[in-house]
Symmetry: D2
Subunit: 365 residues, 4 copies
């Protein structure tokens, strides 16, 4: 049945794509959204919003474009709109679905305002992730949490995408959680500079250096992981009773977050079983054939020195997580390294997949 | 009494410095030895050895000098000798004390041969570190292990210096181990490229990248830590019953190994107690006033984003470890970040301090 | 007529691809050849050669694969052959066309031996580039020089590809040379580390550093530029009377050579004329529709701070040169920055384009 | 006689150091001033100014300290003052001499206001460098230009320090200019990120990348070089008739600007003569024994691959320029590479040397 739901929109969109908007389109994540939406089979860009400085200007002038892919001319000429409801667009159809690349300060009020006005917002901002009625979704991990949006008081809806480090982590944890249970997760991250935005990390801070700190990041990884692995029951999420300890580092890498993870499982399992659980993992986005879904969400490598960010971040067009170095941990049970692309899977691409899932599930029409 | 021993040699050396040799003097660690010995108050270079390619040539021609400090002319003109006993030197005194910067393959036999011939070898190579009668010394941590050398069958002696990642780790662990006991240590390292030698890590492997693997390194950190924290009893080391789990990464940093450490203590302790134990730590090298000893072996910082390799690696002239981000660990008890200079404290400087300790203890005459 | 020649092979290859070999296939450039040939419409890999260490092993085991694209399984299973004539292959057709990624030491004799045995070798090695009867080809610049091969004494033939820094430079110079003449060229390069091969530049040499020297590189740029812009007359190349001054630097960039170029033209020209000559440039590969040809060989940008290696190296699938910052030079006439991908256009991709040109011209059958 | 002038202040300062102020003390260059002044034999910090955000706070809290050397506690506790005249200090003596690390926007008016109020300002800002009555000084190159300040209408005086790229360049040019004359200078720079200040260059812009552009920099190098090499006559500077062409690049290096320079001399000279002119160069700061003067202003290296920023930037405690790769230029006469430390010699250290020169010349009392 989910199959038929999945194919339905694809047939529809051959006739007419969904007009969508990008909130905060001039920043780093906003540019990624624009790039990914440029050739999207289901969606087409109908509105771009920006800060006061940009409003009223053509997007191509307002943006400091820093993507390798060229800015599509039809997008470059679109006028940047203010981020407020109602969102006027020149699109023939109302632009119901919005992707938010807003900074958390702005996102806090703006996303509620837009959801109240009837928009469905899929947000990459952290402001509402932990909201009791806000689904925090990794489509391969907790697609059923989408239903939490029914608890929302707004005409529209708000879905969120986790922190860029949480995503790769929970993708690797999910098959272990399902197969063996999970008591504890110790994660040390080595995060790329792009995670901090275009000018987040000064070069003076990172050339021949690293920074063992990112404000608020450890708390996000710890609480988001518990929420995502939690159970939706009676209209609320019951966080998974998994103890999570995160330590974060910023390293001189452009894209790709690497995480050294140790886990204590809920029940004994052999190395082979753990390997197999990871390697055979597949989930809703693959079954539904969502356009942005990687063929396999987790790639397991047995090369001794992989994954590496420059070599593996683009696996599955930047949407797969690569797991390597699976081995016993003398303290917990097993340890491994997981790598995922932080601005593709970890931000714009991840949010896009959430929207595709919502469309396939019939939640966006 | 150790005090009087310590002052004795310093008075002596004012009249006459100890002639010392550097084995494998042309490599990265060898060059650091040469630099540190150039102005040493107790030691002076009397012999330099190298591989076949270098033997017979003036050191200044044989070496590809890559230190910031200039190569002293009197050293540059010394003829490179073969690494074999008896080590002929032109020094008026026999050159008894040798610093080994040999690769482990060569070190295995050569160091034994030289110790058999009566030399005291202080080695940075890994070959003999885990030998049952070979002291593996961090002067602030286990100075009493020097006595293990009495078990050695050679006319001379062999002392070793731990892996560059082990050193910073055990320096931070020692005060906790003494004050509270230590059950488990989980360490994830972010190691500088200099640790692999002058051409160990190709730039193609590390620019915009990191490598979550260094062959044999995790095993070394785990077993060396247990040996160093162990107890010397009846002529043998009883390894400390501390479970150690190490995960290593190579990152694009020139010098300075950073380690994200979580510990489970032997008994409950408050954050303040742990902080105090670290911050107040002082040990034999400080008490003996050894020339290469940092004023304080551990510097504790409360800056939220420190230590950082480029800013903190030279603390205590590269001989101190800097600890920061001390905080509770949701899984074990506490976590923190420790940073130390891998080619100073972690290699040549550390070995030099071992030799100074041995001299101060009257073990080298 | 070249048109008809060009279309002929494309029709042919739909039925049957040319079997080709890659000499020195395990190195950095060799791997690029393998990657580019994997999906090539005209060519298919029939033989891979390697050094003694690799011969007899499956390519997938012998190679230390370091490309982002996965190694095709059918290539991974091919046995590595020795680099010598006659080149035995298991292909149904004899493998006449060979791409050489050999180091220059090996290339010197091996390529002559293979050409003598009847192979057509397209080489990226520097050994024979300046040979009086060896065409040194950039397909957009001097396609007519292919005919120089008629002077060769061998049954087969040998074509060469210039130095990776020469290629981008002469691509930018060619339209100026044709339109205005060229008296002098002053080029300062900022070259990526991949140009030195997988382990050519140690990370210790380049993190937080640059090296203002690459052995022999300046001489190559100077002499190759004169040969490529020279005239083929009476079976010999008359070098172009252009004075070239090259200064080279290695910088911490993975891929993409940047060059700051000043030129003195043969006759006065306005900035607009120079811009137009560059921007409108098109040449034989574009006219012939060669599979590896970029749509436009030169992209001219007016962004004030472009080209930049990370953002522009993949322009035209890594086969176009990007020119920016065109402006008057107070000493010579004009200056600009040109950037090209050194391992695509500057090595394997460039050699592939030479072979495609030779096929389209009917020189390889 | 200049000798006696030079020794005079040193005798004086043994009794009492000059109280000095640092304008814009919280930024990158300001911090360098604070560090260099911490142990200065002639000067001591009596006032620190900052922007509105910092005024009234202790310097140690207002500053985001990013120097390797620790912030001296007595400086950390000083209250940050507003940058305006009259500059109230708690120093017993009036704080006449001010070092300006102000941004050019602020410097424009503030420096004039302070000079009008009687302060002697030595500025690193670019705002007034090209002012007709403002000395632009490199103490080794044009110490006599100090006298231009007599033309200034203010009670105090304003001296300036050139752009960080100009300094290294003119130091290398000066001996050639004096010995052989100089017609033309072609310079391509590879500049460190610290030149842009603490957050000037985002890491996203420079990891695995370079930027062939720095706004206004080429113009500064060209015009400042002519002014500095110019002649002071009748109370005005007659710029040197040297044609200068500069092309600038930002590269992923922390400190140290490298420049590839080609020169056309005024009269023929052999390579040996040029080498000798550079290697034997010495000037006023050396003769006067100024505290910050390097023993030799220019170090000439014959190593084939030097100077390199990480290895050579600290030569002469960061105050010397290192010249290497001297060789003929096929277009102009000779080419070479010059490297100097951009935040020491090129900013704070250079300005300090200007002040020392002014004191030694009796211009500051």
């Amino acid at each position: 049945m989910s199959e038929s739901r999945a194919t339905a929109p694809r047939q529809t969109v051959k006739r007419q794509k969904y007009p969508v908007g990008v909130l905060g389109a001039t920043g780093s994540v906003g540019q990624r959204f624009v790039t990914l939406l440029a050739d999207h089979p289901w969606f087409e860009i109908a509105a771009l919003t920006g800060s006061e400085r940009s409003v009223g200007r053509p997007y191509g002038e307002a943006v400091r474009w820093a993507q390798e892919a060229a800015l599509p001319p039809e997008v470059a000429s679109m006028e940047v709109l203010p981020t407020k409801a109602p969102l006027h667009t020149k699109a023939p159809l109302p632009c119901k679905l919005l992707f938010s690349a807003l900074g958390s300060n702005v996102a806090k009020d703006a996303e509620v305002e837009l959801a109240t006005a009837g928009h469905t917002v899929v947000s990459n901002a952290s402001s509402h992730r932990m909201g009791h009625d806000v689904p925090l979704i990794v489509p391969e991990v907790n697609p059923d949490h989408l239903a939490l949006a029914e608890e929302q008081p707004w005409d529209g809806a708000l879905f969120t995408n986790p922190n860029c480090s949480t995503i790769g982590l929970v993708m690797a944890l999910k098959p272990l959680f399902d197969a063996f249970g999970l008591d504890a997760v110790h994660a040390v991250t080595l995060q790329a500079v792009s995670g901090a935005g275009l000018s987040g990390v000064p070069s003076m801070s990172i050339v021949d250096n690293l920074i063992p700190y990112i404000g608020g990041e450890e708390e996000k990884i710890e609480s988001e992981t518990q929420k995502i692995l939690g159970r939706l029951e009676d209209g609320a999420i019951d966080p998974a009773p998994v103890t999570v300890s995160a330590s974060v580092n910023r390293v001189p890498v452009i894209d790709g977050h690497t995480e050294c993870v140790s886990v204590r499982l809920g029940r004994p399992a052999s190395l082979e079983e753990v390997h197999e659980a990871l390697a055979s993992f597949t989930a809703a986005p693959q079954e539904l054939g969502l356009p942005s879904a990687p063929e396999r969400p987790i790639l397991v490598t047995t090369e001794p020195d992989r994954p590496q960010p420059r070599l593996d971040r683009n696996a599955g067009r930047g949407m797969a997580a690569t797991v390597g170095r699976l081995r016993p941990c003398p303290i917990l049970d097993y340890k491994f390294v997981v790598l995922s692309h932080n601005t593709l899977r970890g931000a714009a691409g991840g949010a896009l997949l959430v929207a595709e899932l919502a469309v396939a599930k019939g939640l966006i029409s």
